[in-house]
Symmetry: C2
Subunit: 355 residues, 2 copies
């Protein structure tokens, strides 16, 4: 029996995608060759890359609006660097909402002045700073839409005239946003998109070409745009599985459909956290992530019992991030509502037997 | 029926590796979870990464000799940049033996003086330059061991006191060398090691830490060494399949065993190219690659017929690199001797029917 996989990432992917991916390793397109042993310049794979790039723009509603989609190497961690390399001329504004923002800030500092316009570091990143001011002369504003470690999510993005750059690694394709407000979106694949090893970058071309420094080929967005995301051999398998997952989402009804499911899943779990006296949420209610719900037991002595119970129920990946502890239920796009119900049932059983 | 896959890369992988990889996508380690939906920090995956790193050192005979093995993102193309970022203080010596050396040189030039100690660019890279001098005060000497596009291979590496750095993307694990002579070896996975999306770096720690420039986290070898190659989420599937392929090679008898097979395969094909009046080799005989044999028809009018014949024989990927044309038979570790025999048979059939 498949587990109820609440892993924070890499995370659950749709079962039909896994089946297709497994088949393609043995025989891709009925070509009597494995997906992973054909040339990335073959017609078969170029079609995969093109489809992945167009599906990304289509799902975000960004087709024919001056954006390019790229599938690059290096994860979001390399994007922390690439964003600064390509766009930081003099100074940039960053919002610090967690571990990942903090890392992005660290990498950017080597390239210019970094203004931290807001930070929730003082309270363990348990809320999203609001009411901050973005300098009008900043080269760009950077934020992290969803914070996997603390379990917070930006619900309203600031209005600003400077380019808006967002790390959406952990909530891309999970909710409707006015994506046209963003000038550059990036996302490591391993949450809602596919397996680890590729990174989606959606960039509005007009923001590029404005810094004077030399940009190494592999770090230049323009290099990758000019080569249709095939400057060097792409991560063939991760790109293919990302394509399959985006196609799965499109067939279901796209972001509009999945947002409804995600809202239901989050409501089911947060309602239980708030209702059940044995549990308490960790972050500010208005900033709670629909992707990653973080919570603690109100009585730590129940930890062993609770851990035994959810493990017995076939639940996987419920431990909090190693830097904070507690519990974290990650409810990405592919996690069924039923899995959340199983977790809620375990929480209620614990309550009945211990209160 | 599986094809005879002469693709230049991504390329053929062992059938038993493909089967295990396909199985792991559905159920890894009988954990009722897919390999690609578990945390990269899980015990199961950390064991994969550790095994991959130790197998790489073991196969190369570099255990306990001051080397670290890393599996990084970005392909050899990112290594062109990382080598220079981490090691180029004032000037470095490069040998230009083809497309990939040329790209490595281009990236390095932004970081210091690059001395091209030898080049075969004047003759379409159809030979390996010899008798060149490496300046004793160079920060390092960089070369490409095997040139996939032209089909040449360095048979003897220069003696030098400066650190020896080698891009072995297309012939790693294919032949015995005194690997201790090298200070840094890198190789994109997609030839003899695994699927595209991860890059092996084997580096002697003592050569690091000598440049003064700021090195961004993701580009610093020291970052990745400190984090046991898990600074950020690795390309889980490519690393896993690389581990399986290295284990397959070890079980067969390691590099010593496969070198014998590779020598037989290359001899079989080159003997036919030299014997058959309808074919001619392209590069200097003493520099011929055992991995990629490049050749032309002596009579171009036979092209259509030959192409039809090898396609009908179930052969895939025999066209030369798009930049040079002609034919290229890539005979990586996983290609059976039998596939080369099938190609030779087609060449002989062409001869019989047209001479």
């Amino acid at each position: 029996m498949k587990k109820h996989n609440f892993s924070a990432g890499p995370c659950i992917l749709p079962q039909e995608v896994l089946q297709k991916a497994s088949d393609a390793i043995l025989n891709f397109n009925n070509d009597d060759l494995s997906l992973i042993e054909i040339s990335h310049r073959s017609k078969s794979f170029v079609a995969v890359m093109d489809k992945a790039r167009s599906l990304a723009l289509e799902l975000l509603g960004l087709e024919n609006k001056g954006y390019k989609a790229l599938f690059l190497h290096g994860g979001a961690s390399l994007e922390f660097l690439m964003v600064a390399y390509n766009l930081l001329h003099k100074k940039a504004a960053y919002l610090n909402t967690g571990t990942w923002s903090d890392k992005a800030i660290k990498e950017a500092k080597a390239f210019g002045e970094v203004i931290e316009v807001g930070s929730s570091k003082d309270k363990g990143y348990a809320y999203i700073p609001k009411g901050f001011t973005i300098p009008a002369d900043a080269d760009y504003f950077h934020c992290t839409s969803n914070n996997t470690v603390a379990g917070t999510q930006i619900k309203e993005f600031p209005k600003t005239d400077v380019p808006l750059i967002c790390d959406m690694s952990s909530d891309i394709f999970s909710r409707q946003l006015d994506f046209e407000k963003f000038d550059l979106i990036y996302a490591g694949a391993q949450k809602n998109m596919g397996p680890a090893g590729t990174t989606l970058v959606v960039v509005k071309e007009e923001i590029l070409g404005k810094v004077e420094r030399h940009i190494p080929s592999m770090l230049s967005y323009q290099t990758h745009i000019e080569k249709d995301s095939m400057f060097n051999t792409p991560a063939v398998f991760p790109v293919y599985v990302s394509m399959l997952t985006m196609q799965w989402l499109k067939d279901l009804g796209g972001i509009q459909f999945i947002e409804e499911v995600n809202t239901k899943k989050a409501a089911l779990l947060y309602d239980e956290i708030d209702r059940n006296p044995l549990f308490k949420g960790i972050v500010a209610k208005e900033d709670r992530s629909t992707m990653n719900a973080t919570f603690n037991l109100t009585d730590d002595s129940l930890k062993k019992t609770f851990d035994k119970m959810w493990t017995a129920a076939g639940i996987n990946g419920l431990n909090g991030h190693r830097s904070v502890g507690g519990y974290r239920a990650s409810m990405y796009n592919a996690l069924p509502l039923y899995s959340v119900q199983v977790l809620v049932d375990v929480m209620q059983t614990l309550e009945k037997s211990h209160l």
